[in-house]
């Protein structure tokens, strides 16, 4: 028994030292390839002109904080969920509410539109992900047709109809291979919790927004952080990020009620958008890139273009 204990301790110690040396090797390998900064390479790119982006639509109707939203592939419908327990489907052109479902719990933290446009998924403190088929038949009770598709051990914070292969947990961003279930890359450079991650349109990089008041860009092939989007004047956390279609612009919603628009390549801020009267909690660019929508704790959603 005593010898077994000794053996185990040796193995543990040797494994731990191997882990340390591997971590050191990883840092070395990453540093070797750090031959230049993204913004230096981007110096030869033309600077962006003035941006005029305004609120074009305000969607009012939720009775409490808007927690999540998603666009329908038809580029006009939006689904949003709120702490008031409601999930609403809007026509963003007319601002009409097309569907409303009351969830059995408050804090509906996640919602998503099905690619087919025929259903929405949502969940929150009920620990479930439920799918509701959308029907225009007034006689149909949407709640009656709901299907539970997943049961979690804790609250649902995000859901997506496509393989969501990224996860921001704590200060680490991890990239997963959905087929093997393995984590293939991990990045830990943020100084606080990561609230949002989004793939760069080409798929070769991703951006993150964090409570440390910065957004960062990580390149998957260089396997490192390649840009930080921050300003001394920005001291509140970034809750949600999304790219414009070409990936040149990064829109980020912050807890100080503003939306900052960043030049992804040069690292500079191109615009700051005011309008929300409380934290911006969610932000998505429309499928055709003509506009983006932000949801806020001020109970409203705004469409900007």
């Amino acid at each position: 028994m005593a010898t077994d204990g000794l053996h185990e301790n040796e193995t543990l110690a040797s494994l731990r030292s191997e882990a340390e040396s591997l971590k050191g090797k990883l840092d070395e390998e990453r540093a070797k390839l750090h031959d230049v900064e993204l913004h230096q390479v981007a110096e030869r790119v033309e600077a962006l002109g003035q941006f005029v982006m305004k609120t074009r639509r305000t969607l009012k109707g939720h009775g409490n904080k808007v927690l999540c939203m998603d666009w329908c592939k038809d580029k006009r419908r939006i689904v949003s969920s709120s702490q008031d327990g409601k999930v609403i489907v809007w026509d963003s052109f007319s601002t009409n509410k097309e569907h409303a479902v009351t969830m059995p719990c408050t804090w509906v933290m996640a919602c998503a539109y099905a690619p087919s446009g025929c259903a929405i998924a949502c969940g929150g403190l009920d620990n479930k992900c439920s799918v509701y088929p959308l029907t225009f038949d007034k006689n149909e009770n949407m709640a009656a047709k709901k299907k539970s598709v997943a049961m979690h051990t804790n609250y649902l914070s995000a859901c997506s109809f496509t393989n969501s292969d990224m996860q921001g947990c704590d200060k680490k961003a991890m990239v997963w291979d959905m087929r093997s279930g393995q984590c293939v890359q991990a990045f830990e450079t943020h100084e606080s919790d990561i609230n949002s991650v989004r793939y760069y349109p080409s798929g070769d990089a991703f951006a993150s927004g964090s409570d440390d008041a910065t957004c960062r860009l990580y390149d998957l092939r260089a396997d490192r952080e390649v840009a930080i989007y921050s300003k001394e004047s920005i001291i509140f956390g970034a809750s949600s990020v999304d790219f414009s279609l070409s990936g040149r612009l990064l829109f980020a919603g912050y807890n100080d009620y503003t939306i900052n628009v960043w030049d992804v390549l040069k690292g500079s801020r191109v615009s700051i958008l005011f309008g929300h009267e409380n934290r911006v909690s969610t932000l998505r660019v429309s499928p055709d890139g003509t506009a983006f929508c932000s949801g806020s704790w001020d109970h409203t959603l705004r469409v900007w273009a």
Partner: protein, 68 residues
């Protein structure tokens, strides 16, 4: 019991780090120029970047004509 758990955890961590260390990486200069290339190629098709005329953007109000 906890000893075996620790060893199992440590083994998993080492395996994971070996995986990550074995990744093929490219230089930042190459990765950066690829990102720039993508932006440049897609720029024209990015409505929020180049702006689209009010008539083509469903969210922008079309100004009514005024007869002076």
């Amino acid at each position: 019991m906890s000893a075996t758990n620790n060893v199992a955890q440590a083994r998993k961590l080492v395996e994971q780090l070996r995986l990550e260390a074995g990744l093929e990486r490219v230089k930042v200069s190459k990765a950066a120029s690829d990102l720039m290339g993508y932006c440049e190629r897609q720029a024209r098709a990015d409505p929020l970047l180049v702006g689209v005329p009010a008539s083509e953007n469903p969210f922008k109000d079309k100004k009514p004509c005024a007869i002076l």
